[in-house]
Symmetry: C2
Subunit: 321 residues, 2 copies
DNA sequence: GATACATGTGTAATCGATTAACTACTGCTC
DNA sequence: GAGCAGTAGTTAATCGATTACACATGTATC
């Protein structure tokens, strides 16, 4: 910057003013400064600027698992929304580990992100408290924590799950295997509660960890126990469960009915296409980004609750009639 | 930091030394400082530190498309490798747009990342030159550019593609549809060149843009033209093509043989499972991160060329016998 | 011609860390 | 007891920007 100033025969203050679009500098001065910038290929140091202004124009996004397309889609939506408001997004991948999540959150705070989006790995509120104590704007995404004191953006699957349960029961299934998420996550618990509640005593629940491998194992146990229908509570466990079904040579829906929470582009390609509960991922990402930007802006956004939808495709068999 | 110093009855210099593990401070002083840090909940400002040390302990990673699981896997691997060396990764999503790619690269440079990993959207070398001019360590990943002057990490699919071609020709296919990537990307061009070369005059090429929609369209045209085999040059176009095949009610492999460049966890679930050329994504990400860290360390890493493998699963029909 | 006021620019403090250079103290040797 | 070495800690410069305040100049007013 000093070089630019010297080159243009002005002070660094003037260069800064030109850079920040202040009213002060003469058109002619501005011209000279811009020419010098161009000539020297100068680019301002964002670190120094942020240090001075205490604003980084950056949002932190800590997600549970980058390999999970559900979160990848969300990340993508957050990023688009943030960019359109002049913000950058730094993505942290917690890998469903509370420890790694905490590490990432602290790293992002140390780098002074202007706000933080968090998909909590567990419903333990201590990390959230820590962030709040630092005074950094925080929005929770997809999952919440006990006694959350910040805006939450998530999808409500109750209606869809209830409809799904009604169909399964109506079709005469009496042993319905539920591949549930971890009970220490809000989504894991709530989805399972709603579904088992709606199924009366017909549900058998096995908890997985939102990963493919646990889906296969859970499916194996449930099938062994005589389940005639399987519902996986997220797409990765669904993938694993499908593998197990396939490995055993079972036919969907003839031998077993099948549904998954979360849609994926390839579900329609299976034979039969898989019935899912689709979450509005793009809207979730957008809403979360918008809430966070509002918070940064000093406003107090409301919680956002979007609706997940049951998409019937055939893998439930006669339950879809 | 001043507060901590005051609280512990020492100067900021001493606090800094404790923080950075210098030898100087007495165990007793260290104890007092740590206590003060704990008590005040002090966390050092990474911006200020980076400004002073000119090191951010951050790598930039600009990928073509975050929604493409191929890149998501790579991102994940890069992140893991970087973290194990104490580095953070900032991911930028270029969305297959050269313009957005350039914007992101500049943003990351402005934030003074210690090094940059780039999956170039096109083979235009100007952006690479710009980065090199700034003296920032740079490694290209998956794709290269014309006259690249920096280490490149990629997967070589020549052998696998040649083997694939041999099988298709051997099985008597004479109209083989190739859904190619954009000709202005190195991977798009090279894969297509190798495959069409190995197929002699039997290939019909339609170019897509590495996205799902273009895969469907290309497949539609190729099927209309009488192709009896389809090869998609990346997983998203493969997804699109599969949708088109399915929409037309064609049976794989009876009506049409099918193969895809890139493996995906759900390919084995289809009926028949899809034959693919699998790239070692994790190794690519690791190697790229390692090369970049070496470069940052002042060493000169060699280009890395990993090998993609043909995985036969049944979607080629008799070509797999 | 003195006074007031607007306008464009420069000076220097500041953000929060790191670190070279310096000072003060302790203990040892001759 | 002077001289020296070694250790622990302080002072102050520095990184590269922003911005309050001061200053100089030009114009309008009486």
């Amino acid at each position: 910057m000093k070089d630019v100033a010297q080159h243009a025969g002005v002070s660094t203050a003037t260069v800064s003013r030109v850079l920040n679009g202040h009213a002060a500098p003469t058109p002619e001065t501005r011209e000279r400064v811009l020419a010098a910038i161009e000539e020297l290929g100068y680019r301002p140091n964002a670190l120094a600027r942020s240090l001075r202004t205490t604003s980084t124009q950056t949002l932190g996004l800590v997600i549970s698992d980058l390999l999970n397309p559900f979160f990848a889609e969300i990340a993508r939506a957050v990023e688009d929304e943030a960019r359109s408001h002049g913000y950058c997004v730094v993505i942290g991948n917690a890998d469903e580990s509370a420890e790694q999540e905490a590490t990432y959150v602290r790293t992002l705070l140390d780098r002074r992100v202007d706000g933080l989006l968090l998909c909590p790995a567990t419903d333990d509120p201590s990390l959230v408290r820590e962030v709040r104590a630092g005074g950094v704007p925080l929005v929770l995404l997809d999952r919440t924590v006990r006694g959350a004191t910040c805006p939450v953006v998530r999808a409500d699957g109750s209606e869809a799950l209830t409809a799904l349960a009604r169909r399964l029961v109506g079709a005469g299934h009496t042993r319905i295997g539920v591949i549930a998420g971890p009970p220490n996550t809000s989504t894991g618990r709530e989805r399972t509660d709603v579904l088992t509640g709606a199924l009366g005593g017909l549900a058998q629940v096995v908890h997985g960890d939102f990963r493919q491998e646990s889906g296969s194992q859970a499916a194996a146990r449930l099938i062994d126990d005589g389940a005639t229908a399987l519902v996986a509570m997220d797409n990765l466990m669904g993938l694993g469960a499908l593998g197990e079904v396939r490995a055993r040579g079972l036919q969907i829906p003839h031998d077993i009915a099948f549904a998954v929470f979360d849609d994926q582009p390839w579900f329609p390609l299976l034979d039969p296409p898989i019935t899912v509960i689709a979450q509005p991922t793009v809207e979730m990402g957008q809403a979360a980004a918008r809430s966070l930007l509002a918070l940064i802006d000093g406003r107090q956004p409301d919680d956002v609750r979007l609706t997940a939808k049951l998409v019937l495709r055939g893998s439930l068999g006669e339950a879809e009639l």
